[in-house]
Amino acid sequence: MATIITYKPFGRKAILIEWIPIIALEILNDIILFKDKITTQNSGFYLDFSIGYNSLTILFKENILNFQGEIETLQKIYSLKIKSLKTQNFLWEIPVCYDLEFGIDLKEMSNLSNLDISKIIEIHSKNVYTVFFIGFLPGFLYLGGLNPMVFFDRKSNPRLHVEKGSVGIGGVQTGIYPISSAGGWNIIGKSPINFFDVDKEIPCFAKSGDQIKFNQISKEEFYDIEKLVLVNKYQLLKTIIHD
């Protein structure tokens, strides 16, 4: 099913490749595999790649003179029989403190849903989430896999200031604000981890295809980890994902 894909020009310098419009792991894996094949085969002509839920956008170095020709080249690369990804994916364990001091919308969410606060936390920290791609802000992970029991509409009045590290639920999605920003998601906790640090060799540790698990921590642990993060001494737990 993942193989029905279309190619469209996106301005003069980009090609947009689209899969069927659903959010699905099979599609994400097909996108990542395609991107890997392209970068192994033919990376010289391309400047950058941008992944969406059901799309891969390829930015070219020069104006594209022959779209049909480029699309045929890409179709050939797509049909190459390479199974193994060269990218190694990880499961990251992200400490999150769900204390009401940080989870400033938990009470309201509990009232709206008739779920106990502890139940919301339990559901949120139980699932393993997949990183589909990164967008909106540097280091903002688009995660799939939220339990429908904790879908909460975005707030009708977005906050002008959501603190860095805040963990939120917006509609069918959950995510972490990598920097302080305006935002309309329901805030349920806070992580002391940096999701984007421009001075690190790899500014954002996570990438498309990785997985995230939220580990509930106490306020004391939050402050301890925050101190370690500040001096670059905190080691995130990660496990290699095997197919």
Partner: protein, 283 residues
């Protein structure tokens, strides 16, 4: 070094931008009007890669702490050196302690100050372009010192100025390609997109320009996908947003048009209230 005596309204360091970091959500950035910033660099025989100062609507003042040569391109904000008017798009020699001021806006929204060898502010993710949370500062501040390349000995005057085509500033035609979701619009709305005279709302900045006029929207949101500088999004309320250099890397609104590279440069010189219409060019 250049000392900032008056930082002005919105002044930043810009270059060609940060390309290759979409995977971690980092915007491209770079000079809003790349045509003018490239022109300023080429008049000084600089590489296009050298960083320049992007000045929005003038009212700023700088003092040179060393001898160098400069070029000012883009919008005309009545530049003077020691109160003597100077010509745009020409190579100008400046001496230690000279004061460069910008005043009255004659045309355009942004001008570029290039110096021989370029500005040498910090490079983050292969670019010097200012961006919040990427570079340490994201706006030039009054009183700060901006490092520039040391001028070589051969500073020669050139008595010629490049003449710029005025249509770069006053053309009301913005060329674009059909965007990925264009075909989803009803025929009537496709037609309206090209027949409407649009105006820029006061909600406009380096991230994007929101337009005042409305095209009723019949397309639902899309699954979040890539956007680029020059992407025209149609929001659920029917307002259009033209994304500019500092735009996010992904978005969820239908992408109805994609500006040509030079149309982005032209739009970068327009301001609140400026009117224009989109015209379709074919790939």
């Amino acid at each position: 070094m250049i000392k900032v005596l008056k930082a002005g309204f919105y002044t930043t360091i810009q270059d060609q931008g940060r390309i290759g970091f979409a995977a971690i959500g980092v915007p491209i950035s770079g000079a809003m009007d790349l045509y003018s910033s490239n022109l300023a660099n080429s008049i000084l025989n600089n590489s296009f890669e050298e960083a320049v100062l992007e000045i929005t609507f003038g009212v700023c003042q700088f003092q040179f702490l060393s001898k160098t040569s400069i070029c000012i391109s883009g919008g005309d904000f009545s530049p003077t050196i020691n109160q003597q008017p100077v010509v745009l798009n020409s190579k100008i020699l400046v001496n230690e302690k000279d004061i460069l001021s910008f005043g009255k806006i004659n045309f355009g929204a942004r001008c570029y100050l290039a110096v021989k060898g370029g500005f040498l502010t910090e490079k983050k993710l292969s670019s010097r372009s200012y961006f919040k949370n990427i570079t340490t500062s994201f706006l030039i501040q009054t009183g700060e010192l901006l490092p520039i390349s040391l001028a070589s000995r051969e500073l020669k005057v050139a008595n010629t100025a490049v003449k710029m085509n005025p249509s770069h500033f006053d053309s009301e035609i913005i060329e674009c390609y059909k965007g990925p979701e264009f075909e989803l619009l009803s025929i009537q709305r496709q037609y309206l997109l090209f027949e409407t005279i649009f105006s820029i709302s006061n909600d406009n900045n380096r991230m994007g320009y929101k337009l005042n006029e409305t095209i009723t929207n019949n397309i639902p949101s899309i699954l979040t996908s890539a956007v680029l500088p020059g992407t025209v999004q149609l929001t659920p309320s029917g307002k259009l947003i033209v994304l500019m250099r500092d735009c996010q890397v992904t978005g969820g609104y239908p992408r109805v048009l994609q500006l040509s590279a030079n149309a982005i440069n032209k739009l970068a010189q327009k301001k609140t209230g400026s009117k224009f219409s989109f015209t379709s060019i074919y790939i």
